[in-house]
């Protein structure tokens, strides 16, 4: 899987209102003011279409930071 910086760019592209370059690996994504529950669906879709990796609601519930999501996806790709 690609470097986490590329992954972060893709996430930033999916969350409206987020300034590019401001998201860090240790950011707690649920605490972002722009975050909505709808973004969880967007992350699952991103993982399926970009990496062909299936992540479940349970997987996401176990993630706190952007790095956690990256780790789950990269461990399966």
């Amino acid at each position: 899987m690609e470097d986490i910086a590329v992954f972060i760019k893709k996430i930033e592209g999916e969350i409206d209102g987020l300034t590019p370059g401001t998201l860090t690996p240790d950011a707690k994504f649920r605490d972002l003011p722009e975050w909505s529950s709808m973004h969880a669906l967007i992350l699952i879709a991103l993982s399926e279409t970009e990496y062909d990796v299936s992540i479940s609601g349970e997987d996401l519930r176990g993630c706190k930071t952007v790095q956690d999501i990256y780790n789950v996806i990269s461990s399966r790709s």
Binding site: S36, M38, E48, D52, S54, I55, E58
Partner: protein, 349 residues
């Protein structure tokens, strides 16, 4: 594996009826404007048709069926099979199909029964009718598929209220020696809790606790007779299983996916369906949507999408894949070819 092919069957017509009443998600004020905009963009659902209290799924299907029978100029005495597919029947008992046999003026020689399925129900219903017609013992059949899902919803639950619409459909299927439909049917009851109405059946009868509202999270207030939806689990299930199911169907039917004219998916959520489309590398113009105007119409979504989008194309020979996935969990797909389908305009009642 539940693969099978039914020979001697062909779809001759499809009609749909929806309530006149419209709920516009742009007016949904239980959530903030940015959240509302993101919801509409992600789900693709702008408006939904919602039935008034007192209207039943059987009523909607009856209107669709009458319209279709008239357009096809079918002799009602020749209809010898009616199957009603729904998870919001008119009564616990008797079966809605039997009520409709009488209301539609069909003969007592008509076989009628219900199938309890939602999102996958249209394909499952088609599989049962096809199996029965392929015996040669039945000439003409009606598949009535619909739901008034909104009966179990409240505007206080943002996870369901903006998503669902009500609709009833009728599909006419005839014995035809040259027709053939391929099916791939699947199920997984371990995911039952992903979409469930907990109370009201025998497992959890209506009790003094049934109608107590509970705030599960901000914007999600519901009681035990409401529909509970775990959006993440359903999303994950659908984008994982629906493409695999269709790929297996394509192999089984020994067809070239590029030759299929239309892929009609259950209308659940734009992002979900687009993810499925991209995984299967299907061109966007082959995957029509009824979601923007009608929302998720459960068992009616596949036929409603055809009636709302492909009336003209359906009049000439077409190759189709239908794919339904959701509550159960249950999912199914089928491949079929049609010569000419009669598709009257959507009826608003």
């Amino acid at each position: 594996m539940a693969f099978f092919a039914a020979t001697g069957v062909r779809i001759k017509g499809i009609a749909a009826a929806v309530p006149k009443g419209i709920e516009d998600n742009r007016d949904y004020d239980k959530i903030s404007e940015p959240e509302r905009n993101l919801l509409i963009k992600t789900t693709g659902i702008a408006t939904r048709h919602v039935a008034e209290k007192g209207t039943t799924t059987g009523d909607l299907c009856q209107v669709a069926a009458e319209k279709l029978i008239t357009e096809l100029k079918w002799d009602k005495s020749e209809i010898d099979l009616v199957i009603f597919v729904s998870q919001s029947p008119d009564h616990f008992l008797p079966a809605t199909s039997i009520l409709l046999q009488h209301k539609l003026g069909l003969p007592k020689t008509t076989a009628a029964f219900d199938i309890s399925l939602g999102c996958s129900g249209y394909v499952y219903g088609l599989s049962v009718i096809s199996g029965m017609l392929s015996t040669g013992g039945f000439r003409k059949a009606l598949l009535l598929a619909g739901d008034i899902s909104t009966h179990a919803m409240t505007p206080d639950d943002k996870s369901t209220w903006p998503l669902f619409g009500d609709a009833g459909t009728a599909t006419a299927i005839e014995h035809d020696a040259d027709g053939k439909i391929f099916f791939n049917l699947q199920s997984d009851g371990s995911g039952a809790n992903a979409i469930i109405i907990p109370d009201g059946g025998l497992r959890h009868p209506i009790s003094d606790k049934t109608y107590i509202n509970e705030e599960v999270e901000k914007g999600v207030v519901r009681h035990r007779r409401n529909l509970w939806l775990n959006g993440l689990d359903v999303f994950n299930f659908s984008v994982r299983e629906a493409p695999a199911n269709m790929k297996a169907l394509i192999e089984f039917a020994k067809i070239n996916a590029g030759d299929v004219d239309h892929f009609i998916f259950h209308q659940a959520n734009l992002l979900m369906n687009e993810t499925i489309r991209k995984k299967l590398k299907i061109p966007v113009e082959k995957v029509p949507y009824s979601l923007p105007a009608f929302g998720n119409t459960s068992s009616a979504s596949i036929p409603l999408t055809i009636v709302a989008n492909l009336q003209k194309q359906a009049q000439s020979p077409q190759k189709w894949i239908f794919s339904g996935f959701g509550v159960g969990l249950s999912w199914a797909s089928c491949y079929l070819e049609t010569d000419s389908i009669v598709c009257p305009e959507v009826v608003y009642i």
